[in-house]
């Protein structure tokens, strides 16, 4: 093994340590302040770890971890929030299924709005609606504060099985994400490069979207108020190019945190509309300036 590879490996381990430290901090502070039970704690940490490790699989492709930019994460969050509103006793499975469906619908919606050049108008309308809803339903109580801090779905989790599911998620997503890192990196170069090297773009896009969706769901369930600490890592990443996956996780968690906050203080409908709004707006900005 040459020096360059050893250096790369060491860097990779350092980044992993940074991520684990971040996740541990988020989890334990939440646990101490909000008296989380052991099974909840396991779930919280596992889901966070799954998100972080999947991001590690895309290390080196900093600009294309597109949870925020292309709106997938927002769409998934929208699906989960909507499912929680509609099926409060349903559990994570319903949320997961719903988020997949909503993602597909969201893709179709983007296609239609692009064709009709309608996205700008829709974004503005959604923003106004969300703002009106927020003003009308503003409510900041202690219970809503707890929800903001520990993630929107903590009240739903009362047994061990979500933790087991989270570990399964890690196993399912982490291994292929790491092993397929070169193919994923190739995918991020764009359709032209991906097809030039002999791959089919559309099936790969579908698989990646599904993986993103699952990870976003994990991040939603595991997020807490200290995800905002990720803002520090975003600036570090720009300067030193370190711990990208930590920042990626933090960005996801931060986005979800904003949605959870909106939901807590102004209701699920506001959060849902805000998710759509942010997703469309994010897409619009990326297309304009990238």
């Amino acid at each position: 093994m040459n020096q360059e590879r050893i250096k790369k490996l060491l860097l990779s381990n350092f980044e992993l340590a940074v991520t684990l430290a971040l996740l541990f901090a988020v989890t334990s502070i939440n646990a101490f302040i909000f008296n989380i039970r052991l099974n909840e704690l396991t779930w919280l940490f596992s889901a966070s770890l799954a998100a972080g490790l999947l991001a590690k699989g895309r290390r080196g492709n900093a600009g294309n971890f597109n949870y925020l930019q292309n709106g997938d994460g927002m769409a998934a969050a929208l699906g989960i929030i909507a499912s929680m509103v509609l099926f409060p006793a349903g559990g994570a499975i319903i949320a997961g299924i719903f988020c997949l469906v909503s993602l597909i619908l969201f893709r179709a919606f983007l296609l239609l709005t692009d064709l009709a050049s309608f996205s700008g108008l829709f974004t503005n309308f959604s923003a106004l609606t969300a703002f009106a809803y927020f003003i009308h339903h503003f409510d900041l109580s202690s219970s809503s504060l707890q929800m903001i801090a520990t993630g929107a779905f903590r009240p739903m989790i009362s047994s061990q099985w979500p933790a087991a599911a989270a570990f399964l998620l890690i196993a399912v997503l982490y291994v292929p994400a790491i092993q397929l890192r070169h193919e994923i990196a190739l995918f991020t170069l764009g359709r032209d490069f991906f097809e030039e090297t002999g791959y089919r773009y559309r099936p790969a896009l579908l698989v990646l979207e599904l993986m993103r969706c699952m990870v976003t769901a994990a991040a939603v369930l595991g997020s807490g108020v200290f995800a905002a600490a990720g803002m520090v890592f975003i600036s570090l990443n720009r300067q030193e190019n370190i711990a990208y996956y930590a920042t990626a996780f933090a960005r996801i968690a931060l986005a979800v945190q904003i949605l959870a906050t909106l939901q807590a203080v102004s209701g699920g409908a506001t959060a849902s509309i805000a998710a759509i709004c942010a997703a469309i707006l994010g897409r619009y900005i990326t297309r304009r300036f990238s």
């Binding site: 070169h182 764009g190 089919r200």
Partner: protein, 256 residues
Amino acid sequence: MLQLKDVALSHREKEVLKSTSLSVHGGEIFGIIGPAGCGKSSLLKILSGKVRNFKGETLVDNRPIRSYSRRERAKKICSIPMLPENMDISVFEFILLTRTPFKKALNPFSDFDVQITEESMAGFELSPYRNTLLGELSRSHLKAALLAFCFARNADVLVLDDATDGLDLRGLVLLQKMLFRYVVDGNRTAVLAGNDINFIAQTADKIAIMHEGTIKALGGPEIIEPEIIKQYFGAEAFVSKNVYNGKPNVHFFPEG
């Protein structure tokens, strides 16, 4: 060896490439020149297998290009892609990714993949930028990285559209050197198309001049003459001979 037999292509009911036939042999650099919109890029897309809905037949090593699987084609032919969407990737990692068709899924790259990537990088003098992100490169170095991506594939056929666009003088010299080494030493084939007539004239063994979707002249670089330039490019020009190799050099007269 590349062969086009009565190949034609239409786009939105407009015939962008009329019935065209040509052969490019191993160890040959084939240049295509012509004014914008003459069908150069369409021809190259057919040659590289990116367009499949064409009429006629394209053969690579006497086998129809349509019969190649995607992966087989990627191993056999490499064309220069557009700019990558993700520029936050190091030069080395970017060029290494061109070797993906040669590795099995879930497996790492081989030592040979790494070696050929290093060689291709060195060929374009990109080794000092090994760990630099693509987004931080100058335009000329970025173009060199794209070219190194193509050369590192080590495919039998290299299809380069607008290969010189953005390259500085040193880049042009290196590209020419790499092409000669690649094609002659490896007995492989390269097809160049672009607007840099002088580079193509100095580099190609055989040249096709295209106009309005068809090949108007075909032969050695000596076919580039003032009358041809006037007729197909609409420019008054003087053609001299390079004192080093006797190949044509085109000098344009200013108008007005």
